[in-house]
Symmetry: C2
Subunit: 302 residues, 2 copies
């Protein structure tokens, strides 16, 4: 069964302010954004934890999008929450507060029925919990992995142990520069690849697009151009969701499918940021993704 | 005759410091970089002025590359000179000094034999001297035009008069934002286009590539990736030279040729910055450009 995707990440309540407005306690989290994007290609199964305060309407929304939440634990206490502010530059985010809440001490426990899922996205999480999850997987074909500067600084050793166990490693440009200690992104990508990542390293550059480094080719893709970015939150996770979603649907990971997956990731990311939180997915159709995919092809071809 | 290109810009003596070294009084100037890049496609004719100190070896180098300098005046005094320093970010340039010298009060005077040239690049120059030159042209098919923030601030009115007279207007991202008063580059491009530019507006984003806005389509192209940028000076002018060079060689300006011209501009710019000043052109072959053009196609296709 290739059309299931295991997504290990956060379900969160986000409070966000951007030049386009302010929202409080909206549905957020890496697993949310990745799963919603992936749901247009395959069936996402979220592995996560929420608190007792997680609103029923959020649960209903995820279920309505055919996202499986059987592996989401409900713990005593409050859901992971996050507050941030963006200015005119959507690439710059000021984190105002992070409330770890029920994520504190959470260790993922995979239901037996999910242990042989082949396509897996490990969203940004503590490296030790990512290793926990990796150790429960039995038959993977593709593991896409993400992290952030906080973990790079604190648990570099663990990250170096994770890299050779994953197929595709995601970094944003700042993280890639920080982790590789290279200013030039071409050098950074190659250096991270040399740490043993199985297939490829993707460096996400926000409004400037993304680059994929593999041992046989490199791919540069501009972002899908938007005149208005209402809320940049979740762009990276949506990118990952569209990418792994397309690959899981296709059931083949090769040069050609990876390139197309980069484009689909670019598209789902561009859609996410058009509305606050996960709002864009309330009325998004499959055709909208396909239309934008073809536009991106036209925009970049010569 | 389509295969001649008139290039109105500066011949300069540049002193540059980058993380890769330091050079003093090397051959520089907008016309130099544009003409060298264009020379691989067509015959560039430079309209400019130099001082008595302009070294013979520079003149010989330009002539060796089949650049016509009959329309370059030699005036009493010193050649235009420029000093700058770049740090790790090649997009950021600190100008240390500008010596206008013989450019002061210079007004271009076209030789009769050059007045019916069809392809024209007006490099960054005072808007009044650009208007002077425009008024001497009799049979243009394509005018590519460039400016910089200094003129945008000082002579906005004149620039607004120039725009409807040119086919393609070039801006870098900072200039485009400044001129349009739009932070978002998509909005900036459209707004500048609405000022009456005949065919298209190109926003150059340095290492992040370039965007072309026309009334019928938009094109996004990443930069050709380089691990080392030895000297970013002249990238924009080389871009313009490759762009107009290809169009002059093709003799046709349409959607298809414009897209390809964007790619050729991207390539000549990437070559220029690989060495200090104009050094890369000392051993550059036509095949090198073609090879990189095909690589860029591969890098961006999906």
């Amino acid at each position: 069964m290739n059309n299931k995707i295991l997504i290990f990440g956060s379900l969160a309540l986000d409070s966000v302010e951007t030049p386009f407005g302010k929202r409080k306690n909206i549905l957020g989290g890496s697993a949310t954004h990745a799963a919603l994007s992936a749901s247009y290609f395959a069936t996402p199964i979220i592995v996560s934890v929420i608190g007792e305060d997680f609103p029923d309407e959020h649960t209903a929304f995820l279920k309505k999008n055919k996202i499986n939440i059987k592996n989401v634990e409900i713990k005593k206490g409050k859901t992971f929450a996050w507050e941030a502010k963006y200015g005119d530059n959507p690439n710059e985010c000021e984190v105002l507060a992070t409330y770890v809440n029920v994520l504190q001490g959470y260790s993922p426990s995979l239901l037996p029925e999910h242990q042989d899922i082949k396509y897996v996205f490990l969203a940004n999480n503590s490296p030790s919990s990512q290793i926990d999850l990796l150790n429960q997987l039995k038959a993977t074909e593709l593991i896409v992995w993400d992290t952030m500067t906080f973990w790079i600084d604190k648990y570099n050793d663990q990250i170096l142990k994770i890299l050779p166990r994953v197929d595709i490693a995601l970094f944003n440009d700042l993280e890639a520069r920080h982790f590789s200690r290279e200013t030039n992104l071409m050098k950074a990508g190659k250096k991270i690849l040399s740490k043993g990542v199985k297939k490829g390293v993707i460096i996400k550059k926000g409004e400037h697009g993304a680059v994929l480094f593999t041992r046989s080719f490199t791919m540069h893709l501009p972002a899908y151009p938007l005149e208005e970015v209402k809320d940049p939150t979740g762009a990276g996770d949506s990118f990952a969701g569209g990418l792994i979603g397309f690959l899981a649907k296709t059931g083949e990971v090769n040069d050609k499918s990876l390139k197309k997956a980069m484009a689909y990731g670019t598209i789902t990311a561009s859609l996410t940021v058009e509305e606050f939180g996960a709002d864009r997915f309330k009325k998004l159709k499959k055709e909208d993704i396909q239309k934008r995919f073809l536009e991106l092809k036209k925009l970049t071809g010569f």
